[in-house]
């Protein structure tokens, strides 16, 4: 305890010097934490965009549908077993049935390939956000034969609300089915892929057009949160052993890789910043050891053991680093709070949306984001004290006390 108290007092003997080292550590840590928080924010907007516009938390398909999503691979028995399981499961926050296919959408001016997603408009709104992302027209009002398409697709087809488009797709028999429909509304989301390439139809109309009776391709489920999705996915998988029940991270493993890669790069960044700090910390400790040669000699002469002397120097290093670290954390949390409404990168919307990221970035600071810098900081403190400590123990008390 004595050593700890000594070390604590020692670091405050030269407040200016200690202050500069602490400031360096604090500024470095706060800067990296905030930058990483924004980085995570970017990745999380990617997850959230994917989940909230299309993916949902959990999806149920017929066996093998995800690998080869053919129209014919519909849920067995029109999805009755799956629907029953979903309705019996209290943790389901919302669910929606879908029928999916690929088709060609044509206007008098152009044709584009499109994913046909046939939905029950009311149910779909309980799972995904398309209904809330309308920029023109409306989301499946009363008239029949209306479709909802992305603003980007409408621009390419040169159509607006009320205009006629022709949807062509292969039906269950393998024949080409074509239907003329009108554009009922336009949506705009943070996903360029969705905005350019997806057309939402009414479920019954698509079922009739594709000749599938009341068949369904998938059931999308909202679990309330990503954490809940895990338990819900397991429960549904147990209830439906003959179907494929997959969570968002199983459907889009890339999103998880993205998060992992960001975490890995964070470790490199922290290492780089802390190595740079280690030089500064070591330098100051070295100076304090050399200007205290006499004092250290006296301490040794009156019986401070070498191991406690090392402990003292190490403690000084750890204190300086930890005080800097804590101030850095406080600054980072303050910065995070200050930026809690997000940074608007609207000027880069095109680039961000192309990769499914929203253009408003809300920094994400999680408890686990503090573990890596804390670990690296302590490592740095130990490393930085190695040289000064080894110089200190090599002093000979008899000579040191006579030092000028």
């Amino acid at each position: 305890m004595l050593v700890v108290r000594l070390a604590w007092r020692n670091i405050w003997r030269n407040t200016r010097r200690t202050g500069i080292v602490i400031t360096a550590v604090a500024v470095g840590i706060a800067g990296v934490l905030i930058s990483m928080a924004l980085n995570y924010g970017l990745v999380y907007t990617m997850l959230d965009t994917a989940i909230s516009t299309d993916l949902g938390h959990v999806q149920i398909h017929a066996r093998g549908y995800v690998d080869s999503p053919e129209l014919a691979r519909m849920l067995p028995n029109d999805g009755r077993a799956a629907l029953r399981a979903v309705e019996d499961e209290p943790r389901v926050a919302g669910w929606a049935p879908r029928l999916r296919s690929e088709g060609l959408v044509s206007s008098p001016y152009a044709s584009v390939g499109a994913r046909l997603v046939a939905i029950d408009p009311r149910r779909e709104a309980s799972v995904t956000l398309v209904a809330d992302s309308m920029v023109d027209g409306d989301y499946f009002a009363d008239e029949p034969r209306r479709v909802v398409i992305g603003q980007a697709m409408a621009k390419r087809l040169k159509v607006g609300v009320g205009d006629k488009i022709v949807i062509s797709a292969q039906d269950l028999e393998g024949d080409l089915a074509g239907e003329a429909m009108r554009v009922g509304g336009l949506f705009r989301t943070a996903s360029r892929e969705l905005d350019r390439g997806t057309i939402f139809m009414r479920l019954e109309e698509a079922q009739a057009m594709l000749g599938v009776g009341v068949g369904l391709s998938e059931i999308v489920i909202d679990a309330g949160s990503r954490v809940e999705a895990e338990h819900l996915g397991d429960a549904l998988a147990a209830a439906l052993p003959t179907l494929d029940v997959q969570r968002w991270d199983e459907l889009q493993p890339m999103l998880v890789y993205m998060l992992d890669a960001t975490e890995q790069s964070a470790v490199f960044v922290y290492l780089a910043i802390f190595i740079a700090m280690a030089f500064g910390i070591a330098n100051v400790l070295l100076m304090t050891v050399f200007e205290r040669v006499r004092e250290i000699g006296i301490l040794m002469a009156i019986g401070l053991s070498r191991s406690r002397l090392v402990a003292m120097v190490v403690c000084e290093s750890v204190f300086v680093t930890l005080v800097g670290l804590l101030i850095g954390y406080a600054l980072a949390v303050a910065g995070w709070y200050w930026l809690r409404d997000g940074i608007d990168l609207g000027g880069f919307a095109e680039g961000l949306n192309a990769y499914g990221m929203a253009s408003t970035i809300v920094p994400v600071l999680r408890i686990e984001d503090f573990t890596v810098p804390t670990a690296v900081a302590i490592l740095t403190a130990l490393l930085a004290s190695a040289w000064p400590a080894s110089r200190a123990v090599r002093l000979k008390p008899a000579e040191a006390v006579r030092h000028r």
Binding site: E70, L104, N283, L345, G351, A354
Partner: protein, 415 residues
């Protein structure tokens, strides 16, 4: 008469001061070296990786420079077209900096085989010209790139072929709407399968012969775009300018890759911004280290400085001396840093690294080859030098002022 700056004396003093505490100097210089190496290395890596991303992407898409009919980029429909006439051809062949060019026709269609159907991007290419301009032929995994005896040959992305369960020799039905607005459908024979790095593209790209495309879409001798390959990415702006002056711009628009893929430019910019913020934090941390060293050096010499001032050295001289000391400290780190960083980067420039694991998956997700390459541009060491010196100039201000402000009387009294 006031004495002028005695730079000789001041710099000599500064140099000696730097070496008064070699240990401290060594640690400070080491920190600077570390920062310089990291900055030069990261900037060269970003430059290399970004240039490769641009090159990879433009070779799959529409070249470094894309020639289109007026208004094509806004709407991407067949209504906006151009022709590769003799005049255009001769301009492209005579303009320096053009490494190659390829005419293309781009549209959408539905591709089906048995019960599987998929909306696809149909690109009609001239197989002879495409070679060497775009990388599509190099992604061929099996079969041939549109050559051979097959009637209406087609090359598909691997994932698309798998989805349709087709293989080389199988026939697929392409359905679309022609330029004449009539329905168009015909059978094509799969002659080759490509493995494209970008998954989205691999799932949706069908390449056919330009001649077949023009007859399928009733497009005559029109084309959608001409992909032009520049000798290097940095030469694109000047190439765009010279093509704009030489081509008939009432019929042909000349677009640099940034016009065709604004999203790529923005993503690269954001990536750069993120990196520069991290490097700035690193440089600030190192700057605090230099500040501390100089400040300590000044504070422990207060008496000496007082004596020097009392002996008649002007405060301006003391200021310059301490300032020079900081710059020497930073300069030493800079020179040593560059001496390590430049050979290091040049080594990696010659030996790129292939990624594996999560990092590889992520780069592939974004459609790029999982490879890290380095490129040392002249601006990199110059910019790094200016940054470090700039930071040193700012940080040195405080200790230098502190040193020159000391009143000799006070200092001497405290002796």
């Amino acid at each position: 008469m006031r004495p002028g700056p005695r730079l000789g004396l001041e710099s000599k003093l500064a140099w000696r001061n730097v070496w008064r505490n070699p240990r401290r100097t060594a640690l400070t210089v080491a920190a600077t070296v570390f920062a310089v190496v990291l900055v030069v290395f990261s900037v060269a890596m970003a430059a290399g990786v970004h240039e490769k991303m641009i090159d990879d992407t433009v070779r799959v898409r529409s070249g470094h420079v894309t020639l289109t009919g007026p208004g094509y980029l806004e709407e991407l429909t067949l209504d906006h077209h151009l022709r590769l006439d003799a005049a255009t051809r001769s301009v492209l062949e005579s303009t320096p900096g053009v490494d190659g060019y390829a005419p293309r026709m781009v549209s959408f269609g539905l591709l089906s085989e048995a019960s599987a159907t998929r909306g696809v991007l149909v690109i009609g290419v001239d197989p002879d010209r495409e070679e060497g301009v775009t990388s599509l032929p190099t992604y061929l995994k099996a079969g041939r790139f549109l050559r051979g005896a097959a009637q209406r040959p087609m090359v598909l992305g691997e994932r698309l072929a798998k989805f349709l369960s087709v293989d080389i020799g199988d026939r697929v039905l392409l359905y679309s709407v022609a330029y004449s607005l009539e329905s168009a459908y015909d059978l094509f024979e799969v002659t080759g399968i490509m493995r494209l790095p970008e998954a989205q593209m691999d799932r949706s790209l069908a390449v056919i012969d330009l001649i077949d495309a023009q007859s399928f879409f009733v497009f005559g001798d029109r084309i959608s775009e001409i992909a032009v390959l520049a000798s290097e990415v940095d030469a694109v702006p000047s190439l765009v300018l010279s093509l704009r002056t030489r081509l008939d711009i009432s019929k042909i628009e000349v677009h640099p890759w940034q016009d065709v893929m604004p999203e790529l430019e923005q993503i690269l910019f954001l990536d750069d911004a993120g990196m520069y913020i991290m490097l700035l934090i690193l440089v600030i941390v190192v700057a605090f280290g230099i500040l501390n060293t100089i400040l300590m050096a000044v504070l422990e010499r207060q008496r000496e400085l007082g004596v020097v001032l009392a002996l008649g050295l002007s405060p301006a001289s003391v200021f310059r001396m301490v300032y020079l000391e900081s710059l020497l400290l930073a300069g030493l780190g800079l020179v040593a840093g560059l001496a390590i960083a430049i050979p290091l980067v040049l080594y990696f420039q010659a030996h790129p690294i292939t990624l594996s694991g999560d990092m590889a998956q992520v780069t592939e997700l974004f459609g790029f080859e999982p490879m890290i390459v380095w490129k040392l541009k002249v601006m990199n060491p110059i910019g790094s030098t200016l940054t470090i010196l700039g930071v040193a100039i700012v940080t040195a201000l405080y200790p230098a002022l502190k040193a020159s402000r000391g009143r000799p009387v006070d200092v001497l009294r405290s002796l």
